[in-house]
Symmetry: C2
Subunit: 197 residues, 2 copies
DNA sequence: GCAATAAGTGGACACTCCGTCCACTTACGT
DNA sequence: ACGTAAGTGGACGGAGTGTCCACTTATTGC
């Protein structure tokens, strides 16, 4: 049952993967990410459909590959970073309130969305968003904060506190002329109202 | 420029419209509403594709036709119904607080979703949700409440307070075993936290 | 009743995208 | 240099979309 040593990726395959990611990034950023087809990506990368499908089963997996490192960086900060994003309580560090940590999380997510909405929209469409590992992580974090704040049913509330970060809403608000600062301010109101003054 | 008298709908056309709506209702309720195709609906209604497209340009417009009356009833209640859903202040009526009205709205929307999620999911997919007349109405209502509560930037906040009612989230929460009561309770926490104690 | 006519009908068509398959090519270990 | 397994790309069948148009049918005025 022991896995053999992982067979190394061939040089041409690695080259093609890089071409795919670069091409996809461009296409997602250019227009409506939901309208990008696997065909488009293959053409833009200069490879055949079969080659593309060999590594990526659909558009979402490509977008997620591009998004992963950014999300992982934020997850790291939530677990071990400085307060108010991280938990604090280290040497000379105050314990931030749950409300402050939620507001800081909101701010960080707005930053991430501002830079990468096109990728998030390429990756998560509708109900599939809730099945991603990233969503599970955010949800766990918010449930933890809600529990700390002494609120009932923190899991249910976590989903509801995550909802205003839906990429479609963010896009809609930005397209309607709202600035990232306005959006962050609104979320901050929500955070402090719900988790404590 | 004067419109002539609206030409009456022919009897066979009316009959077919009824067949379409009945068939579509059944299909939406049966499985994944997003997976229902125009072909399916035409087949189930026993009519041709051309006939279907004559009246409804896409699946969403059919779902909206089915949904409209339910939403209109709620809109009526918000404007002129009894408090806390309506504004109150009539004979022997107290003025409900904005937080109470928001909580009542949340409760009513959860009821509506519980009965008709399949239609809402058939009608509103992703970013298109924000372009519907219904969304504009809810948004206006919530912005009004936020303004009454003395909060800054009520428009931005209105979008964010509407986000936890996203049909995809509702479906996800129900599928995860949450009851409508749990969902309403969470939203109530949100309402009272944000718009006042 | 019986045209005349405008509304309504349905299936064929051209198109796009999807996902798979497989004969061919190329990189890598020996 | 050679064998082989990984990698490649385009052809293919299937599903869905939206349009088009020759035919059918309800309605209106006589």
């Amino acid at each position: 049952m022991a896995d053999g040593p992982p067979p190394r990726e061939r040089a041409d395959a690695a080259r093609n993967r890089a071409k795919v990611l670069a091409a996809a990034e461009g296409l997602f950023a250019a227009g409506d990410p939901a309208a990008v087809t696997m065909d488009d990506i293959a053409k833009a990368a200069g490879i055949g459909r079969g080659t593309l499908y060999r590594r990526y089963p659909d558009r979402a997996s490509i977008a997620r590959a591009l998004l992963d490192e950014h999300e992982r960086a934020l997850q790291e900060q939530l677990l071990r970073g400085a307060p108010p994003l991280g938990p604090g309580g280290g040497a000379g560090e105050a314990h931030p309130t749950p409300a402050d940590r939620l507001a800081a999380f909101y701010r960080a997510m707005v930053d991430l969305l501002e830079t990468h909405v096109h990728l998030v929209l390429g990756a998560e469409t509708g109900i599939a968003r809730f099945r991603t590992g990233a969503y599970a992580f955010w949800r766990l974090h918010l449930a933890h904060l809600a529990r700390q704040a002494g609120l009932p049913d923190p899991e249910t509330l976590a989903d509801q506190l995550l909802a205003p970060l839906a990429p479609e809403l963010f896009r809609h608000q930005r397209d309607s002329g709202r600035t990232p600062e306005q959006i962050t301010a609104g979320l901050s109101t929500l955070a402090h109202g719900t988790l404590g003054r």
